[in-house]
Symmetry: C2
Subunit: 223 residues, 2 copies
């Protein structure tokens, strides 16, 4: 039973990292589709999001079963509850990548973004992809250096998001109202994406520092 | 110990309803502040959101402590896990009410919304307030008629949200780009608000029908 318990805890952790990998793939593809007005790739991101949702459901069921059958306490309990929360954040990140793909599909064969903000959005997309990468590494290694990087990139994202609003409010802005709406939403989606990354980072940090405080060393619940 | 357990389960349920009441107050005040450009009321919504966040934290700690000390199973376990998820949705609803208040504060003494969409937004605000009310009643009574009403209002909200985009894309739209951005965001915040209401409704529905299926009758975990 004890062995089974350890296996299940490790599987939870591994599945969480797997969801983060799918989210990374989703945001990579969503940014490529957005930048090249690639409707097929956009469609793929939209379809693939169902896989993230399914995996999240599976993970959540698994976590609840673990709580029911094994009644974990202390660090392990915290890890299971944190998994439930992190899977919700990752699922939202997948939704946001899908929203960007949906904008791309809606405007095809036009580009969503006017030329004047394409560079700004390239930097925002870089930030989103970087947060997704760091999140995978964080969940895989539990090394908090990745949590700090997520925070730093998120700060950069917030500045870029503010720049988008400044660009829209500037006298030089000539895009149509519908394009203004698209730019506003795309910026908001990207900004929310890294915000959810920060939630995952916060929960991992709490988990890892909690472990150190309470037990003086690393714990086997990691993968 | 058993008696203590029942008291704690009931408290969890009561605290969740209390958060829903604060969210209802927040959206009511945020809509009034938005419609009357009332910066003081907007500021109050912004300050009060910290209280929702604190209550959510308290509830989550309480839920984790309950899992640790009482190791609930079956229906009770599902109720505790659902509480964790619903508190996260309610906290986001509070954030969205705060975002609307922040828009109001940002544009003061101007109104956020141009005249041409004020009636449309009044209907969206009605829908958001209605979802908040139904959520309180749902959590308080566990009567699923309120869950169905949340779904119905959310459908209405989605239609209104689409109308906002149509208004922006129409040739008659003359608002500035900055106002277009504000209108887009305000609409998105309201639409997300009722979406989170649907999440709470879904979780309550699962909880209540789960109880009926598994146990053939209502359960004491309710308040």
């Amino acid at each position: 039973m004890r062995e089974q318990y350890r296996i299940e805890l490790r599987r939870l952790s591994r599945d969480l990292t797997e969801i983060a990998r799918l989210v990374h793939r989703a945001i990579l593809d969503a940014r490529t589709a957005l930048e090249s007005a690639d409707v097929h790739l956009a469609q793929q991101v939209i379809s693939e999001d169902a896989r993230i949702d399914r995996l999240q459901n599976t993970l959540d069921e698994q976590a609840v079963r673990l709580l029911a059958l094994q009644a974990p306490v202390a660090t392990d309990l915290r890890a299971v509850v944190a998994s439930l929360r992190m899977s919700a954040s990752l699922e939202r990140m997948g939704d946001l990548a899908r929203h960007i793909a949906q904008l791309t599909r809606l405007r095809y064969p036009e580009h969503v973004l006017p030329d004047c903000v394409q560079e700004l959005f390239a930097r925002m997309a870089d930030a989103a992809v970087e947060v997704a990468e760091e999140t995978v590494m964080l969940l895989d290694s539990r090394d908090l250096v990745h949590a700090d990087r997520v925070d730093a990139v998120n700060t950069r994202m917030n500045e870029l998001h503010a720049s988008v609003f400044r660009a829209i409010a500037a006298p030089s802005w000539t895009a149509t109202p519908a394009t203004t709406t698209d730019v506003t939403l795309a910026s908001r989606y990207l900004e929310r994406f890294t915000d959810h990354g920060v939630s995952v980072a916060d929960k991992t940090r709490y988990l890892v520092t909690g472990e150190w405080t309470a037990h003086g060393g690393p714990e086997t619940g990691r993968s």
